[in-house]
C-alpha cells in the first residue's frame, strides 16, 4: 500500500474535519497504520469552505501535505469544483448525492455517490451526515477496518450522541458495502 493520500472537502459546519480525524484515528490508533491529518488553513480555507488532508501509510509519513491525491470525498459543490482536478487518474471519488452536481463531469475515477443527506434524514438528524460519510468511505475505500472506524467514532463524538452516531456510521457503512457490490457487478 505504501501511502494513500486523501482529501475530504465540504463547507464549515458539516463536520468535515471530524470525519478526517475519525478516519485518521482509526488508522493510527486502531488500524496499525500511520496517519497524518492536516486541516487546511490556507487561503483556500477562507469563507465557508473546509477541508482536511489525510495521509494513511504503512510506514512513517515524512512529507505531511497531500500532493498526489488518491482519494477524494466531497460534500459541497465548491469542494467538487476545487479538488476534483487534482484527483489522480483512477483515484477514488466519493460525492454526496444531493449536495454535489456532477458538473463538470466526473474525471476518470472510481466514483461512488453517498446519499448522506437522505440517510441522515432517515435517522432524523442532519448533523450526522459526516459520520454516515465516514462509514460509507470506510466501506468503499477498504483502507481501515469497520471495527477500527467504529472504535474511532466512539472516541470522537460526545458521549450523549454515541448511539445516534453509531447508527449513522453503520448505516453509512452498509450503504457503502451495497454501493461497492453494485459497482463490482
Amino acid at each position: 500500500m505504501a501511502q494513500t493520500q486523501i482529501r475530504i472537502g465540504g463547507f464549515g459546519g458539516q463536520g468535515v474535519i471530524l470525519s478526517g480525524i475519525i478516519i485518521g484515528r482509526a488508522a493510527a490508533i486502531h488500524g496499525g497504520l500511520h496517519a497524518t491529518l492536516i486541516q487546511s488553513f490556507g487561503p483556500e480555507a477562507r469563507g465557508s469552505s473546509s477541508s482536511a488532508e489525510l495521509i494513511v501509510a504503512d510506514e512513517p509519513i515524512l512529507y505531511p501535505y497531500v500532493k498526489d491525491l488518491d482519494m477524494l470525498v466531497v460534500l459541497s459543490q465548491d469542494a467538487y469544483a476545487r479538488f476534483t482536478p487534482a484527483l489522480k487518474k483512477g483515484g477514488l471519488l466519493v460525492t454526496e448525492a444531493d449536495l454535489v452536481h456532477l458538473t463538470p463531469p466526473v474525471p476518470a475515477a472510481e466514483h461512488f455517490v453517498v446519499p448522506a443527506t437522505r440517510l441522515a434524514e432517515e435517522i432524523g438528524r442532519k448533523i450526522v451526515l459526516n459520520i454516515i460519510t465516514v462509514g460509507f468511505f470506510g466501506a468503499v475505500s477498504r483502507l481501515v477496518s469497520a471495527e477500527a472506524l467504529e472504535q474511532a467514532v466512539k472516541e470522537s463524538v460526545p458521549s450523549g450522541t454515541l448511539d445516534l452516531n453509531l447508527r449513522a456510521f453503520r448505516k453509512g457503512y452498509e450503504a457503502g458495502v451495497e454501493a461497492l457490490a453494485k459497482a463490482k457487478v
Binding site: 492536516i38 509519513i61 515524512l62 505531511p64
Partner: protein
C-alpha cells in the same frame, strides 16, 4: 522523580502538535500557564484551560503577551512549574521577559508555534523564521535552550524535556514549534507516569540567614526558593551579586554574565540532542530541524535512490548549537546542506563551523514546507 499521575494522559492518542505540547507540559507537572490567544498557538492554551481545573493547575488568560511572559516568572517564584505559549508577534512582545528570566535564573518554558513573519505575516501558515530571535531577540548577551519538534509526538516529548532542562539549568527553555507540526494530527503515545522522568526543582536546604540565592552550586546553577518560605530573598533584573543585590560594577557584570552563559556553553555537549542517519562516509549531510527535517528526509531518500551517500543530521536541540557535532561532520563531508523555512538563519551557524565543507542553504520564505525535489536538487548541486 516520576510524573504526578494526575496530569498524565497515558495511552495512544490522535492529537495535533498543539494539544500534544499541552499534554507534555501537563506530564512535566506544569501547573501554571499564562497566555494570550494567538494563531496558531491558541489550541495549546485552550486545552490547558480545559484540563487544568481537573489537575490542580491555574490558567489565566492575561491582557497581553508582556503580561503572560512575566506572570509565569511570578508563578515560578511562587513555587510552580510554569509556561507561556505564543506565536511570532507575541514572541516579539515576550523578548524582554525572556531576558528577565535569563537574568533572574527563572526556570520556565516558552512555546512559540512559529508562523510566517515579520509583523502579522502569515498567521495560519508555517515558518521557522524565529530561530535567531529565540537566540538573540532579547537585549544583552545570554544563552538559552531551544528545542525543535518535528511531529506531534515530539511536541509532547520535547515540551516535557524543555521543562526538565529549564529546571536543571535554571534558564528559560524554548519549544520552537511551527504551524505545521502545531496543527498536524498524528499518533501520540503518552507513557505511564512512572516511565516519565521529572527533574525536580532544586530547592535550597541552607539555613534561613545563610542562603545566597544566586551563588553557583551544581553545574554553576544556584538552588532555588519560593516566596513565603522565610528566606526573605531579593531578586532583580539588574546585574546582581550572589545575594541578589544590585551590583553595578564592571567586575560584577563580568562575573554574572560569565556564569549565566557558561552554565549553558560549558554544558553544550550534555545538552546536544541530534539524530544522525548515515552520516559516516556520507558525501553530503543535510542539517535540518523541526518540520523541515521530515521533508528533508524525503529529499535525502530521493538522492540516495540515485546512488549517492547522503547523511542526515536532525537537530532536536537547536540552542545551544551543537558546534562540536557540526565541526566533526564538516571535516568529513564535501557539503552540508541546510534547508529551513526562513531565508537563512541556522545556515549561518553552519557556515561559521563549516571548516572547508561547502555549506549550502535552502531557504524558503514560509507559508508551506519545501518541495522535497527542491531540497534534492540542492543536495545534488552541492556535490557537483
Amino acid at each position: 522523580m516520576h510524573a504526578d499521575p494526575a496530569g498524565v494522559l497515558t495511552g495512544a492518542h490522535f492529537l495535533d502538535g498543539d494539544h500534544a505540547a499541552c499534554e507534555g507540559a501537563l506530564a512535566a507537572e506544569c501547573r501554571f500557564v499564562a497566555g494570550y490567544p494567538i494563531t496558531p498557538s491558541t489550541e495549546v492554551v485552550e486545552r490547558i484551560a480545559q484540563r487544568f481545573p481537573q489537575v490542580g493547575g491555574v490558567f489565566i488568560q492575561m491582557e497581553d503577551e508582556l503580561a503572560s511572559s512575566i506572570a509565569i516568572a511570578g508563578a515560578v517564584w511562587g513555587g510552580k512549574r510554569a509556561m507561556t505559549v505564543t506565536s511570532g508577534p507575541g514572541f516579539s512582545l515576550m523578548m524582554e521577559h525572556l531576558g528577565f528570566a535569563v537574568m533572574t535564573e527563572t526556570p520556565c518554558v516558552f512555546i512559540n508555534v512559529q508562523r510566517g513573519g515579520p509583523s502579522t505575516g502569515l498567521p495560519t501558515l508555517p515558518a521557522q523564521a524565529d530561530m535567531m530571535q529565540a537566540r538573540w531577540g532579547s537585549h544583552g548577551d545570554y544563552e538559552i535552550i531551544a528545542v525543535s519538534p518535528n511531529s506531534p509526538q515530539e511536541c509532547f516529548d520535547l515540551t516535557l524535556k524543555a521543562f526538565n532542562l529549564a529546571e536543571q539549568y535554571r534558564v528559560p527553555a524554548l519549544v520552537m514549534m511551527d504551524e505545521c507540526v502545531g496543527h498536524m494530527m498524528e499518533r501520540v503515545v503518552i507513557p505511564k507516569p512512572e516511565e516519565i522522568e521529572i527533574y525536580p526543582r532544586r530547592f535550597t536546604t541552607a539555613p534561613l540567614d545563610e542562603y545566597l540565592p544566586f551563588a553557583p552550586e551544581q553545574n554553576m546553577v544556584p538552588t532555588m526558593v519560593r516566596a513565603g518560605q522565610g528566606y526573605r530573598f531579593h531578586m532583580t533584573g539588574l546585574t546582581h551579586n550572589e545575594k541578589g543585590y544590585p551590583d553595578m560594577t564592571v567586575s560584577g557584570q563580568a562575573r554574572l554574565l560569565t556564569r549565566l552563559t557558561d552554565k549553558i556553553k560549558k554544558n553544550a555537549t550534555a545538552l546536544t540532542d541530534v539524530v544522525a542517519d548515515q552520516v559516516d562516509g556520507a558525501e553530503a549531510v543535510v542539517i535540518s530541524y523541526g518540520i523541515t527535517s521530515r521533508v528533508a528526509m524525503k529529499a535525502i531518500q530521493m538522492v540516495r535512490a540515485q546512488g549517492r551517500r547522503i547523511g542526515s543530521l536532525r537537530l532536536r536541540t537547536v540552542w545551544p548549537f551543537p558546534e562540536h557535532v557540526i565541526r566533526d561532520l564538516a571535516s568529513n563531508v564535501r557539503a552540508l546542506v541546510v534547508p529551513e523555512l526562513n531565508l537563512g538563519q541556522i545556515v549561518r551557524e553552519v557556515e561559521r563551523l563549516g571548516c572547508g565543507a561547502r555549506v549550502v542553504g535552502v531557504p524558503h520564505a514560509g507559508g508551506t514546507v519545501h518541495d522535497p525535489a527542491v531540497i534534492a536538487q540542492a543536495i545534488t548541486e552541492a556535490l557537483r
